[in-house]
Amino acid sequence: MLLRGPRELVAPAASILECVQLTEMLPDHEVVVGRGLRARGMVGGTELWSSVLSRRAAVSGLVGQIVAAATVLLRRHLFVHAGVVGVEGRGWVLTGGSGAGKTSTVGVMVRDGALYLSDEIGLLDPETGTVAPFALPMGLKPWTVTAMGDLPPGRELFTEGETRFYLPDRRAPSPLPVAGLVLIDPARPAATLAPAAPAETLMALAETPTTMRYRDRLEEAFPGFVRLVKSVRGYTLGAPGPAPETRIGLFELLRRAGSESGR
Protein backbone atom coordinates (compact mmCIF):
# COMPACT_ATOMS: atom_id res chain seq x y z
CA MET A 1 0.00 0.00 0.00
CA LEU A 2 1.19 3.51 -0.84
CA LEU A 3 0.14 6.21 1.63
CA ARG A 4 0.82 9.89 0.96
CA GLY A 5 -0.21 13.02 2.81
CA PRO A 6 0.70 15.28 5.74
CA ARG A 7 3.41 13.65 7.83
CA GLU A 8 1.56 14.18 11.10
CA LEU A 9 -1.22 12.01 9.65
CA VAL A 10 0.65 9.50 7.53
CA ALA A 11 3.29 8.53 10.09
CA PRO A 12 0.93 7.42 12.88
CA ALA A 13 -1.49 5.81 10.40
CA ALA A 14 1.36 3.85 8.84
CA SER A 15 2.66 2.71 12.23
CA ILE A 16 -0.82 1.44 13.11
CA LEU A 17 -1.40 -0.32 9.79
CA GLU A 18 2.05 -1.94 9.80
CA CYS A 19 0.89 -4.09 12.71
CA VAL A 20 -1.37 -6.01 10.30
CA GLN A 21 0.34 -8.86 8.42
CA LEU A 22 -2.21 -10.20 5.95
CA THR A 23 -1.97 -13.79 4.74
CA GLU A 24 -3.86 -12.89 1.56
CA MET A 25 -2.21 -10.68 -1.09
CA LEU A 26 -4.35 -7.68 -1.92
CA PRO A 27 -4.17 -5.44 -5.00
CA ASP A 28 -1.99 -2.33 -4.63
CA HIS A 29 -3.98 0.31 -2.80
CA GLU A 30 -2.82 3.92 -3.22
CA VAL A 31 -4.10 6.37 -0.59
CA VAL A 32 -3.60 10.11 -0.81
CA VAL A 33 -4.64 12.71 1.76
CA GLY A 34 -4.79 16.15 0.18
CA ARG A 35 -5.93 19.65 1.06
CA GLY A 36 -8.80 19.96 3.45
CA LEU A 37 -8.11 16.42 4.73
CA ARG A 38 -9.76 14.97 1.64
CA ALA A 39 -8.61 11.38 1.39
CA ARG A 40 -8.89 9.09 -1.64
CA GLY A 41 -8.12 5.43 -2.10
CA MET A 42 -7.35 4.05 -5.56
CA VAL A 43 -6.75 0.59 -6.97
CA GLY A 44 -5.35 0.24 -10.47
CA GLY A 45 -5.90 3.96 -11.05
CA THR A 46 -9.62 3.68 -10.25
CA GLU A 47 -11.00 5.48 -7.22
CA LEU A 48 -12.32 2.99 -4.70
CA TRP A 49 -13.30 5.44 -2.00
CA SER A 50 -13.06 9.08 -0.96
CA SER A 51 -13.78 10.80 2.31
CA VAL A 52 -13.21 14.09 4.12
CA LEU A 53 -11.50 13.23 7.38
CA SER A 54 -12.58 14.86 10.61
CA ARG A 55 -9.85 17.05 12.13
CA ARG A 56 -10.46 15.64 15.61
CA ALA A 57 -10.16 12.03 14.47
CA ALA A 58 -8.19 12.19 11.23
CA VAL A 59 -5.87 9.27 11.98
CA SER A 60 -8.71 7.06 13.25
CA GLY A 61 -10.80 7.97 10.23
CA LEU A 62 -7.98 7.32 7.77
CA VAL A 63 -7.14 3.94 9.31
CA GLY A 64 -10.84 3.05 9.32
CA GLN A 65 -11.25 3.85 5.61
CA ILE A 66 -8.14 1.83 4.67
CA VAL A 67 -9.29 -1.15 6.73
CA ALA A 68 -12.77 -0.98 5.19
CA ALA A 69 -11.21 -0.90 1.71
CA ALA A 70 -9.12 -3.96 2.57
CA THR A 71 -12.30 -5.90 3.45
CA VAL A 72 -13.74 -4.99 0.03
CA LEU A 73 -10.57 -6.16 -1.75
CA LEU A 74 -10.44 -9.56 -0.07
CA ARG A 75 -11.14 -12.49 -2.38
CA ARG A 76 -10.24 -15.67 -0.50
CA HIS A 77 -11.17 -14.66 3.03
CA LEU A 78 -14.54 -13.64 4.38
CA PHE A 79 -14.49 -10.76 6.82
CA VAL A 80 -16.65 -10.25 9.86
CA HIS A 81 -16.60 -7.20 12.10
CA ALA A 82 -15.52 -8.99 15.24
CA GLY A 83 -12.97 -9.36 17.95
CA VAL A 84 -10.91 -12.53 17.74
CA VAL A 85 -8.87 -14.27 20.42
CA GLY A 86 -6.94 -17.51 20.56
CA VAL A 87 -7.49 -19.93 23.43
CA GLU A 88 -5.47 -23.15 23.57
CA GLY A 89 -4.63 -23.02 19.88
CA ARG A 90 -8.15 -22.26 18.64
CA GLY A 91 -9.77 -19.02 17.56
CA TRP A 92 -12.94 -17.53 19.02
CA VAL A 93 -14.79 -14.99 16.89
CA LEU A 94 -16.65 -12.42 19.01
CA THR A 95 -19.34 -10.46 17.19
CA GLY A 96 -21.77 -7.88 18.42
CA GLY A 97 -23.31 -4.51 17.69
CA SER A 98 -21.53 -1.21 18.19
CA GLY A 99 -20.92 -0.73 21.90
CA ALA A 100 -21.71 -4.35 22.75
CA GLY A 101 -18.33 -4.86 24.38
CA LYS A 102 -16.15 -6.59 21.76
CA THR A 103 -12.99 -4.63 22.56
CA SER A 104 -13.37 -4.89 26.33
CA THR A 105 -14.07 -8.63 26.06
CA VAL A 106 -11.01 -9.12 23.86
CA GLY A 107 -8.90 -7.05 26.24
CA VAL A 108 -9.94 -8.98 29.32
CA MET A 109 -9.32 -12.33 27.63
CA VAL A 110 -5.88 -11.34 26.32
CA ARG A 111 -4.94 -10.01 29.75
CA ASP A 112 -5.96 -13.36 31.25
CA GLY A 113 -3.98 -15.49 28.79
CA ALA A 114 -5.62 -15.52 25.35
CA LEU A 115 -3.72 -14.58 22.19
CA TYR A 116 -4.74 -11.38 20.42
CA LEU A 117 -5.83 -11.68 16.79
CA SER A 118 -8.02 -8.58 16.46
CA ASP A 119 -10.57 -6.35 18.14
CA GLU A 120 -12.03 -5.27 14.81
CA ILE A 121 -11.82 -7.74 11.94
CA GLY A 122 -12.15 -11.52 11.78
CA LEU A 123 -10.67 -12.96 8.56
CA LEU A 124 -12.30 -16.33 7.99
CA ASP A 125 -11.12 -18.92 5.51
CA PRO A 126 -14.16 -21.13 4.81
CA GLU A 127 -12.00 -23.70 2.97
CA THR A 128 -9.77 -24.40 5.95
CA GLY A 129 -12.13 -23.36 8.77
CA THR A 130 -9.50 -20.99 10.17
CA VAL A 131 -9.42 -17.38 11.29
CA ALA A 132 -6.37 -15.26 10.44
CA PRO A 133 -4.89 -12.51 12.59
CA PHE A 134 -5.72 -8.91 11.72
CA ALA A 135 -3.72 -7.43 14.55
CA LEU A 136 -4.60 -3.76 14.27
CA PRO A 137 -3.86 -2.07 17.61
CA MET A 138 -6.89 -1.99 19.86
CA GLY A 139 -8.74 1.32 19.74
CA LEU A 140 -9.34 1.96 23.45
CA LYS A 141 -11.89 4.53 24.54
CA PRO A 142 -12.15 5.61 28.21
CA TRP A 143 -15.27 3.49 28.81
CA THR A 144 -13.55 0.45 27.25
CA VAL A 145 -10.64 0.82 29.62
CA THR A 146 -13.06 1.16 32.55
CA ALA A 147 -14.81 -2.06 31.50
CA MET A 148 -11.50 -3.87 31.05
CA GLY A 149 -9.81 -2.90 34.27
CA ASP A 150 -6.09 -3.61 33.87
CA LEU A 151 -4.77 -3.62 30.30
CA PRO A 152 -2.97 -6.69 28.93
CA PRO A 153 0.81 -6.33 28.53
CA GLY A 154 1.54 -4.27 25.43
CA ARG A 155 2.45 -0.82 24.20
CA GLU A 156 0.67 2.31 23.19
CA LEU A 157 1.44 3.38 19.62
CA PHE A 158 -0.55 6.58 19.36
CA THR A 159 -3.27 8.61 21.04
CA GLU A 160 -5.83 10.70 19.26
CA GLY A 161 -8.38 12.53 21.34
CA GLU A 162 -9.90 9.97 23.67
CA THR A 163 -8.73 6.97 21.63
CA ARG A 164 -5.57 5.09 22.57
CA PHE A 165 -4.12 2.73 19.94
CA TYR A 166 -2.75 -0.09 22.04
CA LEU A 167 -0.99 -3.22 20.72
CA PRO A 168 -1.00 -6.25 23.01
CA ASP A 169 2.27 -8.18 23.24
CA ARG A 170 0.66 -11.63 23.19
CA ARG A 171 -0.43 -12.02 19.57
CA ALA A 172 -1.22 -15.04 17.40
CA PRO A 173 1.45 -15.36 14.68
CA SER A 174 -0.66 -17.43 12.28
CA PRO A 175 -4.24 -18.53 11.51
CA LEU A 176 -6.05 -20.69 14.05
CA PRO A 177 -8.87 -23.21 13.56
CA VAL A 178 -12.18 -21.61 14.56
CA ALA A 179 -13.49 -22.98 17.84
CA GLY A 180 -16.68 -20.98 18.13
CA LEU A 181 -18.73 -18.03 16.94
CA VAL A 182 -19.83 -15.86 19.83
CA LEU A 183 -22.48 -13.15 19.81
CA ILE A 184 -21.88 -10.62 22.58
CA ASP A 185 -25.35 -9.86 23.85
CA PRO A 186 -25.85 -6.76 26.05
CA ALA A 187 -29.03 -8.37 27.41
CA ARG A 188 -27.10 -11.31 28.87
CA PRO A 189 -25.72 -11.17 32.41
CA ALA A 190 -22.04 -10.24 32.33
CA ALA A 191 -19.52 -13.05 31.95
CA THR A 192 -22.07 -15.76 31.16
CA LEU A 193 -21.95 -18.03 28.11
CA ALA A 194 -24.85 -19.96 26.57
CA PRO A 195 -25.20 -22.08 23.40
CA ALA A 196 -26.85 -20.46 20.38
CA ALA A 197 -28.69 -22.38 17.66
CA PRO A 198 -27.01 -22.48 14.24
CA ALA A 199 -29.81 -20.49 12.59
CA GLU A 200 -29.61 -17.84 15.33
CA THR A 201 -25.84 -17.64 14.84
CA LEU A 202 -26.13 -17.25 11.07
CA MET A 203 -28.81 -14.54 11.41
CA ALA A 204 -26.63 -12.72 13.97
CA LEU A 205 -23.73 -12.80 11.50
CA ALA A 206 -26.02 -11.37 8.82
CA GLU A 207 -26.81 -8.40 11.06
CA THR A 208 -23.10 -7.72 11.60
CA PRO A 209 -20.93 -6.11 8.91
CA THR A 210 -19.53 -9.04 6.97
CA THR A 211 -18.61 -9.90 3.41
CA MET A 212 -22.32 -10.67 2.91
CA ARG A 213 -22.84 -6.88 2.69
CA TYR A 214 -20.91 -6.81 -0.59
CA ARG A 215 -23.27 -7.76 -3.43
CA ASP A 216 -20.52 -9.02 -5.72
CA ARG A 217 -19.46 -11.58 -3.10
CA LEU A 218 -22.82 -12.44 -1.58
CA GLU A 219 -23.37 -15.57 -3.64
CA GLU A 220 -20.11 -17.11 -2.43
CA ALA A 221 -20.07 -15.53 1.03
CA PHE A 222 -23.40 -17.04 2.11
CA PRO A 223 -22.29 -20.66 1.51
CA GLY A 224 -18.98 -19.85 3.19
CA PHE A 225 -20.64 -18.62 6.35
CA VAL A 226 -23.09 -21.54 6.24
CA ARG A 227 -20.17 -23.96 6.12
CA LEU A 228 -18.63 -22.25 9.13
CA VAL A 229 -21.86 -22.20 11.14
CA LYS A 230 -22.39 -25.90 10.45
CA SER A 231 -18.87 -26.84 11.54
CA VAL A 232 -18.46 -24.84 14.77
CA ARG A 233 -20.67 -24.06 17.73
CA GLY A 234 -22.42 -20.75 18.32
CA TYR A 235 -22.77 -19.02 21.66
CA THR A 236 -24.10 -15.86 23.25
CA LEU A 237 -21.91 -14.10 25.80
CA GLY A 238 -22.45 -11.36 28.33
CA ALA A 239 -19.65 -8.77 28.04
CA PRO A 240 -17.68 -7.56 31.05
CA GLY A 241 -18.80 -4.36 32.72
CA PRO A 242 -17.24 -1.78 35.07
CA ALA A 243 -17.75 -3.99 38.14
CA PRO A 244 -14.57 -6.07 38.66
CA GLU A 245 -16.49 -9.29 39.31
CA THR A 246 -17.90 -9.15 35.76
CA ARG A 247 -14.42 -9.62 34.29
CA ILE A 248 -13.62 -12.78 36.15
CA GLY A 249 -13.66 -16.07 34.34
CA LEU A 250 -14.23 -15.02 30.71
CA PHE A 251 -11.07 -16.77 29.57
CA GLU A 252 -11.97 -19.87 31.56
CA LEU A 253 -15.51 -19.86 30.11
CA LEU A 254 -14.18 -20.13 26.56
CA ARG A 255 -11.43 -22.55 27.51
CA ARG A 256 -14.00 -24.93 29.00
CA ALA A 257 -16.39 -24.49 26.09
CA GLY A 258 -13.57 -25.32 23.70
CA SER A 259 -12.69 -28.47 25.65
CA GLU A 260 -16.30 -29.62 25.74
CA SER A 261 -16.78 -29.14 22.01
CA GLY A 262 -13.56 -30.99 21.29
CA ARG A 263 -12.49 -28.40 18.72
Binding site: A197, A206, M212, F222
Partner: protein
Protein backbone atom coordinates in the same frame (compact mmCIF):
# COMPACT_ATOMS: atom_id res chain seq x y z
CA UNK B 1 -30.34 -19.87 -1.77
CA UNK B 2 -31.06 -21.59 1.48
CA UNK B 3 -29.72 -23.85 4.14
CA UNK B 4 -31.23 -26.22 6.70
CA UNK B 5 -29.87 -25.83 10.21
CA UNK B 6 -31.11 -28.14 12.98
CA UNK B 7 -34.74 -28.16 11.95
CA UNK B 8 -34.83 -24.54 10.87
CA UNK B 9 -34.17 -22.88 7.55
CA UNK B 10 -32.37 -19.69 6.60
CA UNK B 11 -33.10 -18.35 3.13
CA UNK B 12 -31.17 -15.75 1.17
CA UNK B 13 -32.94 -13.64 -1.44
CA UNK B 14 -30.06 -12.66 -3.74
CA UNK B 15 -32.07 -9.90 -5.40
CA UNK B 16 -32.71 -8.01 -2.17
CA UNK B 17 -29.67 -9.37 -0.30
CA UNK B 18 -31.97 -10.18 2.62
CA UNK B 19 -31.84 -13.23 4.84
CA UNK B 20 -34.98 -14.83 6.28
CA UNK B 21 -35.18 -17.22 9.18
CA UNK B 22 -37.96 -19.82 9.13
CA UNK B 23 -38.57 -21.27 12.54
CA UNK B 24 -40.16 -24.69 12.91
CA UNK B 25 -43.74 -23.44 12.43
CA UNK B 26 -42.99 -21.15 9.47
CA UNK B 27 -41.03 -24.00 7.90
CA UNK B 28 -44.02 -26.38 8.20
CA UNK B 29 -46.29 -23.88 6.48
CA UNK B 30 -43.70 -23.04 3.82
CA UNK B 31 -43.05 -26.67 2.95
CA UNK B 32 -46.80 -27.33 2.72
CA UNK B 33 -47.30 -24.65 0.06
CA UNK B 34 -48.06 -26.75 -3.01
CA UNK B 35 -50.86 -24.69 -4.52
CA UNK B 36 -53.37 -25.07 -1.71
CA UNK B 37 -55.06 -22.05 -0.20
CA UNK B 38 -54.99 -20.97 3.47
CA UNK B 39 -58.07 -22.98 4.44
CA UNK B 40 -56.78 -26.18 2.87
CA UNK B 41 -53.34 -25.68 4.42
CA UNK B 42 -54.85 -25.06 7.83
CA UNK B 43 -56.86 -28.28 7.57
CA UNK B 44 -53.81 -30.25 6.46
CA UNK B 45 -51.65 -28.81 9.23
CA UNK B 46 -54.37 -29.11 11.88
CA UNK B 47 -53.96 -25.43 12.68
CA UNK B 48 -56.07 -22.31 13.04
CA UNK B 49 -56.78 -20.76 9.64
CA UNK B 50 -56.08 -17.22 10.91
CA UNK B 51 -52.64 -18.29 12.14
CA UNK B 52 -51.91 -19.98 8.83
CA UNK B 53 -53.10 -16.90 6.90
CA UNK B 54 -50.90 -14.63 9.00
CA UNK B 55 -47.90 -16.90 8.41
CA UNK B 56 -48.59 -17.01 4.67
CA UNK B 57 -48.64 -13.20 4.56
CA UNK B 58 -45.26 -13.08 6.31
CA UNK B 59 -43.83 -15.65 3.94
CA UNK B 60 -45.19 -13.77 0.92
CA UNK B 61 -43.77 -10.50 2.24
CA UNK B 62 -40.42 -12.21 2.58
CA UNK B 63 -40.71 -13.38 -1.02
CA UNK B 64 -40.33 -17.07 -0.20
CA UNK B 65 -43.76 -18.06 -1.51
CA UNK B 66 -45.79 -16.79 -4.47
CA UNK B 67 -49.46 -16.91 -5.39
CA UNK B 68 -50.54 -19.74 -7.71
CA UNK B 69 -54.21 -19.63 -8.63
CA UNK B 70 -56.07 -19.39 -5.36
CA UNK B 71 -53.22 -20.93 -3.39
CA UNK B 72 -49.54 -20.57 -2.67
CA UNK B 73 -46.34 -22.29 -3.80
CA UNK B 74 -42.77 -22.24 -2.53
CA UNK B 75 -40.19 -20.30 -4.47
CA UNK B 76 -37.37 -22.42 -5.86
CA UNK B 77 -34.35 -22.66 -3.56
CA UNK B 78 -30.75 -23.58 -4.33
CA UNK B 79 -29.72 -25.44 -1.18
CA UNK B 80 -26.27 -25.10 0.31
Amino acid sequence: MGTRLDGEVVLLDLASARLFHLDAWSLRVWEACDGRDAAALAAALGADVDLVSETLLSLADAGVIRPAGSGWVMMTVAWV
